[in-house]
Structure formats: structure tokens, C-alpha cells
Subunit: 239 residues, 2 copies
Amino acid sequence: MTPHDAAALQPFVSRLLRHSSIGEEERTAILDLPIKQVSLRTNQEIGRVGEHASFSTIVADGLIGRYGQGRDGERQIVALFIAGDAPDLHCAIRPAGGLGLTALGPTTVFHVAHSALRRLVTDYPAIGEAFWRDNLLDASLLAEWIINVGRRSARARLAHLFCEMAVRYAEGRGHLDRFGFPITQQQLGEVVALTSVHVNRTLKELRNENLVSLRAGTASVLDWTELTIAGDFDARYLA
Amino acid sequence: MTPHDAAALQPFVSRLLRHSSIGEEERTAILDLPIKQVSLRTNQEIGRVGEHASFSTIVADGLIGRYGQGRDGERQIVALFIAGDAPDLHCAIRPAGGLGLTALGPTTVFHVAHSALRRLVTDYPAIGEAFWRDNLLDASLLAEWIINVGRRSARARLAHLFCEMAVRYAEGRGHLDRFGFPITQQQLGEVVALTSVHVNRTLKELRNENLVSLRAGTASVLDWTELTIAGDFDARYLA
DNA sequence: CGGACTATTGATTTGCGTCAAAGATTGTGG
DNA sequence: CCACAATCTTTGACGCAAATCAATAGTCCG
């Protein structure tokens, strides 16, 4: 919890501002939060499943997955988090029930003490509401994920995922056509509930159709309109 | 918004108390909320999809489903709500993004104005936190649902659903062995992402194995231990 | 008693999983 | 800077769980 670059949490604040209006005072209160920067290796967990941590996490760079697993050990990733996201902000209010967080590639995050977050929430009701609203957005993504996994074909599932990530990466950058998406096909399978083999085949199909391609951790959107059609994508749930 | 039976919202308050500690003053403030009782027919929607309502809903009796649909019209139910639940409490804070609510059978609900809820939240921070925590529980169920639909076989999916509903119906009643669950096999399919035909076959299997049965809107748990094993059920996420 | 859902069952098809093995990339230590 | 190990990607052959198609019984309610 050392003094730090005042802009470190700026992406996080920008995210909050997209859905909540919070004043100058609140903004600086968040930016002044004491944080600790931590580097995570590929597949490194944040905390242990079931154990309740004393800090929350904000992603600085890289990709974090929230996952659960069935008895047989099969992992299902239920949410992805990119720079500016707070995967376990809610844990300051309610312990995470059985889900884990893991870095999907080399990632750096900030730790923020729950005590500091709770103080912020009680001192500034507007921040509490912004955090709450952030959690609601998170829940909206979860619901859409259920529809994706439950109702759509492999092709549509992947197309939809690329649409969602393109929009999320584009927020604050402006363009949809290309974004760093450091994920393996195995991990993609854990996200969309398919085997890596089938992910591979389907990805090839999407590439041959000139919709998207994923190479060396970079996703290229080749035809946004057709991709949204293939993925049955309606961005309303991200608003 | 007429004077009403003071106990009408008691199940809702009891639910909140299971996860949050709120004082006597807050409790009565909730119980005194102005409400309007509304009866819903089978398949009757609450509001219109996309349109943002001025009230939230609390279930008095029956079964409500939150659902989304793909372009082809296939419906996926992403959450079920029983007496005491508030399916769209969050809409007081953030409009629902593209999801709808519908009564799965004859149901009665209470409408509560968003304005009244927001006043409660600003006047009593403890209530705001309790509502927030309630939304987080909701999100926890959504995450588990993804795992259910994404990773488990038809048999495990249905078993898991019965486990979850048994626990939820049992909260505040005490016993797990039998509960009113007024849902058709078609609707069950929309919940667990299977066709009604396959739901029927799988239900038959579970009945023949003496795990659960569903007849005339009543679910009977025949062997709780074996059912939790079949459903790979770990109640932690409901805590 | 009749009409409309709801449940049940059988035959057949299919999308995705499983198993297996060969390339391509990436990273690391010597 | 190269070698080689580890990981990731790609492809093929085959199997299976659940979908689809289709038709017959219940069951509820006016």
C-alpha cells in the first residue's frame, strides 16, 4: 500500500463513469485508494477458492477469468475481466461463493483492502451506488452468458463472445476492429463450454467466412456486421 | 398503493435478514412500503422487454421466470423467483438490459414504486447494502447456472435444479422433502436448456432411480443425499 | 363433453465430444 | 543464438447425448 501513480486506477474510474455520475471529490477519493501492484503468472490464482480474502482486485493489464468447477474437475469460466475491471469488488460486501479467479495469461493487478473500500462506500454513498451498479452490469453479462451457452450453436457462441469482448475492449478506445485478446483455444473452450478441438474447428470456420480471426493473442474483426448477425449479438445488455 | 396487511412483505424481509443484519427501524420501514397487489395469469409478462418500468416486483405467491431470447425466438430462462424474492429489485438502480419477466403459472406479486425504494436506500444505508447483497446472491445463482448449463449432463442439470429449488423453498420452512413447484416440462426445458422431450425422459430416469419426482406441480425429494450427488450440488453458492 | 395444453414414447438424425497423432509456436537454458 | 522441451494448434476417424420428427395418451378446465 505505497504511494503510487495517481493514474493507476483511472481506467477503473472511467468504467464507473460510463454508468454512474460521481463527483470530482468522489473521483479523487477513489484514485487515492492505497493499492498494491501485483504481477501474476499464467494460471496463477488470486486467493484460494472458498477462502475469503481481505482485499479486492482491479485489473491493470492482462486477462482474468472467474471460474467454477464441477466434481469431475472440468472448469467453466463464467466471466472474463480486462483492464479497468474489478473481478471481485463485490467480495468487500459478500464473500465469493465457491468461485475462483485466475490469470489466463501474464497479468498485473492492483490489490485494494476491503476495509478501505468499505470506508469509501460509507463515506460516499454515490460511490456505493456506483459499485452496486457495476455489480449489476456484471450480473447482466452473466445472464447473457447463460443464454449464450444454453441456446446458441458453437459458431454463434464464439461469434457472440468476440462481439462482447470487442465492445468491451473498444470502450474508451473507440475502434472495434482489433484488440489484444490473450487467450488460448483451450481457455476459450472453458468460456463457451466447448472442447478445445471444437473451438479450433469453429474458429477456422469463422476465419474462412471472414468474420473474425484470432492469432498470437490478437483478435481481428473482419466483418463486424456479419459477426453480430452470426453471434445473434444485441449490445443492449452491455449498456 | 393502498394500506395493506403489514405482514405482506414479511417473506421478503426474512430473506434479507438471512444475509444482512438490519435493525428494527429499517425492518418496519420496509414493511410499511406502499405496495399494490397484482394477480398474473400463466405466461403473463411483467412490463415489456426493453421498456423501463417505474416499479419493482416482489413475489407473493407462484413462480416468476426471468428470461432472454435469441433471434430465433427460443426462450432461455436464466432465473426463477419464488415467494419473497424480488426479481427486478435492481431495476430501481439500473434498467434491465433486454431481459423479460413472466409468470410461469398463476402468480401474485406486489408492485413497489422505484421512487419509494430509492428513498429507502438513501434514508437507510443499511437497507441499501442489504439490497445490494441480495443482488449479489442473485448473481451467484446466475454463475452457478452457467456451470450447470455449460458443464453438466441432462440428468445432473435437472438434479441440480431440484436441489437448488428444494433448498430455496426450504429456507424458512425447514424441510427439504417436498415443495410446490408449479412448472411444466416445457418450461423446465427453457430453464435447463433442453428440449421438453429430453426433460421428460430424464425426469423419468430420475423418478425410476428414486431421486425426485414431479407430479401435479409438486416436487418430491425421494433421496436427498443421492440427489445432491447426481446433481453435483454444493450449496455454498446459496449461502 | 370437447378443446387445448401437457406428458409420454419411438425412430432417426446430428452437433459436438472423444481419441489419437502430427505440426507449429513459444520460451528457456546452455 | 541455437536446441529442445513444453505448450498450443490443427486435422482425421469414430461415438454418443441430446435434438428432431412424429404420433398417441392423459389431464385440466370451461
